[in-house]
Symmetry: C2
Subunit: 340 residues, 2 copies
C-alpha cells in the first residue's frame, strides 16, 4: 500500500507532514511517498536518524499552491505543484491514494482535474467523521458544494453509506437527511425534494429526517446535507466543544476550594474527554466521488493528524471504497456498468 | 406591565405555566393574566395558599390548540383557544405582551392573525439567545421561516440588532451573516446576495460574514441566517452541550480513583457550567416583526423557563422593542412612517 503525501501542504509543512509520515510507517505497515521540495523535505528527514531504512521515499515537485492562489487556475497552471504531482502518481498507478493538507479548494481541483469523477457522480463531496456519544457520525457534504440539487444529496447518501460500512465498520449504516423536524413534510425546498428520492434507494438504510441534536446523540451513522449547512455544523461543533472545555477549566480554577487537588483528579478525565472530541484523532476526510483515493486534511494538521490521515488513506485503498461506490451507483441505476 | 400567558400551552401545562407565573410575580414587579381553562388553572392556583393576593388573574378560554392541529386552520377555527384569546388581550390593549409555550406553529399563526406584521416586515422571525464564552449571541431566524429571500434576512438583521441592544443591553451590537467563510465572496446564493444588502444598512453594525465557530466564541452579538440553518444550529448546540455534559459525568465516574471525592469537588463546578449552558435560563424567544409583544417558549418549558420568559416579556414591552423596530425600518427606507 503506497500513499502519496503532499508534503508541502498545510500551515506546518513540511515539518509536521514529514514527521507524521515517519510516525505512521513506524506504527503500521504502509509505504509513504513524500511529494514536494526535495531539499526541504530531506532537511526534516535528516533529523530522524536511520530514516533511510523506513519505507519512505521522496518524489520531487518544484511548485506549491497556497491559500492565495485561485484553486482551479493554480492547478492548471502549476503542473509541478506538489498536490498535482501527488495526484498524478495515483492516476498513473504508482501510488494507491493521495493525502492533501493544504488549501481544500486546490485539493478538490487537483483531484477533479487529475482523477476525474466516478461515472454517475456529478459532485464529489467531503465526508467528515464527527465524534458522538457512542461512536462516530459521518457528515457529508461538509463544505465542498453549496446549493446542491436533490440528486447530489442522493449521490452523497450512497457514498456516505459505503464509507461508514467499509471504513468505520458499521454493518448496516443508518442514513438520515438533516432537517428541521422528523416529519416527512418538514424542511426547505431542497430537503422536501430530496426525501422521497432517498426513500427509493435500495443500497442504503434510510431512516428518514434527523435533527441537529441527533448528530451528537449518535442516533444516526451518516448525515446527509448541503455543504453550506454541513460546513456550519462542523465549525460550530468544533467551536462549541472547545468553548465548553474552556468553560470547564475556568469553572474549576475559579471554584476555590481545594482547587489544585480537584484539578489533579479531574485532569485525566478531561484529557480523555478531549481525546474523544479531538478531530485530529480522525486525521483526514475522504473526497468521495473522484475516481481514485483522495484524503483531505485540515490545513492546521500536525504530525498526529497526518499520521491518522495516512491510516484512513490506507484503509480507504485496502477496502476498495472507490470500487464499492462505482458498484452501488450502477445498482441504483444512476450509471451504466463499464463496457455496457 | 401586564403579561397574557397562555396557561394551557406546552407539555406540562397548566401546572408548570401557573407555577412559573407565581414564581415570577413573587420575584419581580409584573401582573400576569393566566389564559385558559378556569377550572384547571384554579386547581393549580389553589395549591398555593394566598395566591389571591398576588397580581395574578384568570381569563377563561374554553379551547386549546395541540401539536396535532394544523396551526393556521386551528387558529382560524378555534376562536376561543387560549393562545388566540391571549393574543386578543394584547390586540385590545388589555395586556402588553403575550407568552405562548405550546406549538410554535400555532403561536406564530395566532400572532400573525391577531396582531399582524409591522409595516415593512414580510416575515416575522424567532430570535433565540444562545450562551457563549463571554455572554449571549442572538440567533435569528431560528426556525420560523425557510428558503428566505435576502430581503427577509435584511429585515431580521435590523430586528435582531434592536433586540440585542434593548433586551440584552449591548450598546452597539456586532451583526454577522452566518456563512462558510469570512471572505465576501464565500457562500451559497442566498448569502452572496444578502451580504451587499447588509453592508448598505445604516442602523446596524454589520461586521461581515461569520462562521459556525464564532457563535460559541462570542465574537458576534447577532447572527443572521435562514431558519433552516438556524434551527439546525440551535438543536445541534443543545444536543452537543448535553452530550458533552454526559461524557464528563461518564468519564469522571469511570476514572476509578477517589471517584466520590472528585465528584463531590467537581459537582458544584459542573452545576455552574450547566446553568451557563441551560437554555431554560433565558426562558423565551421573541417573535420579532409582529405588531405587538409576543414571546415563544419551548414546548417542554418548566416553571423556571416560564418565569424567565415572563421576565423577557416584561423587558420587551418596557423597552418598547416594537416601536424601535418600526422606527428603524422607516429609517432604512423599507417602509413609510405612519400617516405619511
Amino acid at each position: 500500500m503506497r500513499v502519496a503525501l503532499d508534503a508541502m501542504g498545510g500551515d506546518f509543512a513540511p515539518l509536521e507532514t514529514v514527521n507524521g509520515a515517519i510516525e505512521a510507517v513506524k506504527e503500521f505497515p504502509c509505504e509513504v511517498v513524500l511529494v514536494g521540495d526535495k531539499v526541504k523535505i530531506e532537511e526534516v528527514l535528516h533529523k530522524c536518524p536511520g530514516w533511510e531504512k523506513l519505507p519512505i521515499s521522496v518524489h520531487h515537485a518544484s511548485q506549491t499552491i497556497d491559500m492565495h492562489d485561485q484553486p482551479g487556475a493554480a492547478v492548471r497552471r502549476k503542473k509541478d505543484a506538489s498536490v498535482v504531482v501527488a495526484t498524478q502518481l495515483v492516476k498513473e498507478g504508482k501510488c494507491d491514494v493521495v493525502i492533501a493538507a493544504g488549501s481544500t479548494g486546490a485539493a478538490v481541483a487537483a483531484a477533479l482535474f487529475g482523477l476525474g469523477r466516478i461515472n454517475g457522480i456529478e459532485r464529489p463531496t467531503i465526508a467528515t467523521p464527527m465524534p458522538n456519544l457512542t461512536g462516530t457520525t459521518i457528515l457529508l457534504d461538509s463544505g465542498a458544494n453549496v446549493d446542491s440539487k436533490p440528486k447530489h444529496l442522493v449521490q452523497s447518501a450512497i457514498m456516505g453509506s459505503i464509507y461508514a460500512k467499509y471504513i468505520m465498520g458499521v454493518p448496516n449504516p443508518r442514513v438520515g437527511l438533516l432537517n428541521i423536524g422528523e416529519e416527512d413534510t418538514k424542511g426547505n425546498e431542497q430537503a422536501l425534494a430530496t426525501f422521497p428520492l432517498l426513500k427509493q434507494l435500495r443500497t442504503i438504510n434510510f431512516i428518514g429526517n434527523v435533527e441537529g441534536r441527533d448528530i451528537p446523540k449518535g442516533t444516526v451513522d451518516v448525515v446527509v446535507c448541503d455543504g453550506f449547512v454541513g460546513n456550519i455544523v462542523l465549525k460550530l461543533s468544533e467551536g462549541l466543544a472547545s468553548a465548553i472545555m474552556q468553560l470547564i477549566k475556568d469553572t474549576i480554577s475559579q471554584s476555590g476550594i481545594l482547587t489544585k487537588l480537584a484539578s489533579l483528579m479531574v485532569l485525566p478525565a478531561l484529557r480523555s474527554l478531549k481525546k474523544k472530541l479531538d478531530y485530529a484523532e480522525y486525521g483526514g476526510a475522504p473526497l468521495l466521488g473522484v475516481d481514485g483515493g483522495f484524503i483531505i486534511c485540515h490545513g492546521s494538521s500536525k504530525a498526529k493528524a497526518i499520521k491518522n490521515a495516512i491510516r484512513v488513506a490506507k484503509e480507504f485503498a485496502e477496502q476498495q471504497v472507490v470500487d464499492h461506490i462505482r458498484e452501488n451507483i450502477v445498482r441504483e441505476g444512476l450509471a451504466e456498468r463499464d463496457g455496457e
